[in-house]
Symmetry: C2
């Protein structure tokens, strides 16, 4: 079902020196599938993260924020799928901490050097006995070449694992950026996607990395939406292991700009992969808003279009019922918006102008674009110079089926 | 498909003295169905309306606002289904005005005494020849007993007409309130539903009626949502014909409070009927938020729950996947919300407290409520005294089918 997305070829996923990954089948929710992931990070690495703004944020997110505030340096991540450990109150917090404690003891590190992540059903407790029993297997499996298996171990309703990797010579040193992500529903990240982990072997100063993780999220995971539901567990983590030769201490260092661009490119590829594999998705849609007064205004309109069930079902049906897009623009909350100044393009077709249909617009042209699997919706507001882009997918029968049957 | 909604029995729809209704089959979009409605209003009546806040508001909405600002008194409404006359620019405005002009000429009144309404597909011009050709038939059909046919003539994807009527003795006079409404998709009114017309035979002062139409909308059409899409055409009109014996000039007059309550009751019944007949609806859901600091805050949470595709598909599946409700509460944008202070009830079942599952909550209790066709979701925030209620429905396969196939 995924739109122009295929299983990542493990051979294209470069290992990142200083980062090893191991998985286990812990039977958190389902038998015989990888559902537990441990990521080991070299001593001296820097790590930064951004997390959901959902007020019901999950227990592991609370623990992550706390541990990342510490100066002791992150040495391991532990991730489970099948249960989100969200809406679990104080007992859930205890479970997240116990996961960290147990992994720390097995690896000979401090509890506060472990970051926990969970994804899956909300309002249910983690099966701690099975999770803890799986840790030794995951540790025994640790290997720098296991990015592909790691991508699989964090899937929920994803139909395909998501992974991306780039390698380049920067400032005379070979640098690698590799990452994985998961997510298919409950996707309207607000500071990151469900789960995304990106690592580089470069050394990056901690404060700079914290800026970069925000910038990378804003250019990738914060610009996608499947169903408008901001998850309780969204987490995006950026690791700079420092095991490679490149060392970056500030933004003007040789190679810094290029490395940041590589990180953004990997993050964006992962974010777009989440949309391509959106629950029930049959179309990949780029919504570009130009000529806005502010980026916030452009965003409001982009998300109004991207969240409209009527727009999304029209894309599913390949039906150029494009008045629905104008309607969504109109209710995006921009009080002084001049509908007559707006131009709407679907791919290369000029659909609407001056408050109505473009005189040259023909239904068959709209139809032709709607039948494509990748569609650009471009709205030119004519109010200013700000712009933004959001990536989304259509709303199909399968979205309803997947979410009506999710727990069964 | 509609949830506990049946075709209104014409015998239960009391005529309103001073108001006559006539319909015609004008073939605006489809053959052999009532799609044109004329409502004739007695001289001396007062009329007030509230309209969509969508910036792409339809041509007839712009004309309505202009004509209602006039002091000459509304004498007729003309309504078509099949084409929304929205996203039609200046030519669309001309079409709306031409409809008024032609009807006015046929009825011997002024153009500015006619209010036009359209509903249906956006971005297409009205077939003016067929619309104008239908007007004499509709006028010949004018009759105070034609509320039922009028309800039919304004349907789009509605599976049933919506009409409601109340009659009472107020201050010694018999008073009637009768109304019709339409709408099934693109329903997240912001100042009114797609189309709602409510009339009383009482005489009500114009300024007071303008206040009442806002209050009635806020208590009814502004509290429903099917898919979160605020239409370009939402209009709600309240007519006080003055043909009856009751005369109200200010809120303290005998019978005023009761009459206002009757108007709200009819409006709310119509609004709820729209949700019951929501596209693909299989469940009618009341979302009640209590203990909020402000009504706006309560509304934000009620709509976050009501718009979440994940919550709506869980209702469709009768799956008590209630973490999705907590998740929606969490992303409603209340920055200082304390998740641990919230209580969630599903019908009579206490589901969540203190940030997690209620200790006595059992899955089978949640399951029992989820299987009902009418479900109350009650959220107690524990932050203040404000509360609100929103009515919505579930998201089913049929919603996708209906909207993927709408124009075909």
């Amino acid at each position: 079902m995924a739109v122009n997305l295929s299983r990542p070829d493990p051979a294209t996923l470069y290992p990142v020196a200083g980062v090893e990954l191991g998985t286990a089948k812990a039977e958190i929710r389902k038998p015989d599938r990888r559902d537990l992931l441990v990521i080991k990070i070299a001593e001296g690495a820097t790590t930064a993260g951004v997390f959901t703004k959902n007020r019901f944020c999950a227990a592991p997110v609370q623990v992550c924020r706390d541990h990342l505030a510490d100066a002791s340096g992150v040495r391991a991540l532990v991730v489970n799928t099948g249960c989100a450990n969200a809406g679990t109150g104080q007992p859930g917090l205890g479970d997240a901490l116990t996961s960290c404690e147990s992994l720390a003891a097995l690896m000979g590190i401090e509890t506060r050097q472990v970051l926990p992540f969970s994804t899956g059903v909300i309002l249910e407790r983690l099966p701690m006995d099975r999770l803890l029993a799986g840790l030794p297997t995951a540790i025994a499996d640790l290997n720098a070449d296991h990015w592909s298996q790691a991508g699989e171990a964090i899937m929920t309703t994803d139909t395909l694992p998501k992974a991306a990797s780039r390698r380049a010579q920067l400032a005379g040193a070979q640098v690698t950026v590799t990452g994985i992500a998961k997510g298919a529903g409950m996707i309207r990240p607000n500071m990151a996607t469900m789960l995304g982990f990106v690592a580089t072997d470069a050394a990056v100063d901690g404060a700079l990395l914290r800026q970069w993780v925000r910038d990378a999220a804003d250019a990738s995971f914060n610009r996608i939406t499947v169903d408008g539901d901001t998850s309780t567990n969204d987490s995006f983590i950026l690791v700079a292991s420092g095991a490679g030769a490149l060392r970056i201490t500030n933004e003007t260092d040789p190679g810094a700009a290029q490395l940041k661009a590589m990180i953004i490119e990997v993050s964006r590829t992962l974010a777009q992969a989440i949309v391509r594999d959106g629950e029930g998705a049959t179309k990949f849609i780029e919504v570009r808003i130009e000529g806005a007064r502010t980026v916030d205004e452009a965003s409001a309109i982009a998300y109004a279009i991207s969240h409209s069930p009527l727009v999304k079902t029209a894309f599913f049906a390949s039906d150029p019922n494009l008045g629905r897009i104008l309607c969504a623009i109109g209710y995006a909350g921009i009080d002084d918006l001049d509908a007559d100044a707006i131009d709407l393009y679907l791919g290369d077709v000029h659909v609407a102008t001056a408050g109505g249909r473009h005189p040259q617009y023909r239904e068959e042209d709209g139809q032709r674009v709607m039948q494509q699997s990748e569609i650009l919706v471009r709205v030119v507001l004519g109010r200013g110079d700000a712009s933004t882009t959001v990536w989304t997918c259509d709303l199909s029968h399968d979205y309803v089926s997947i979410n009506a049957d999710y727990r069964s």
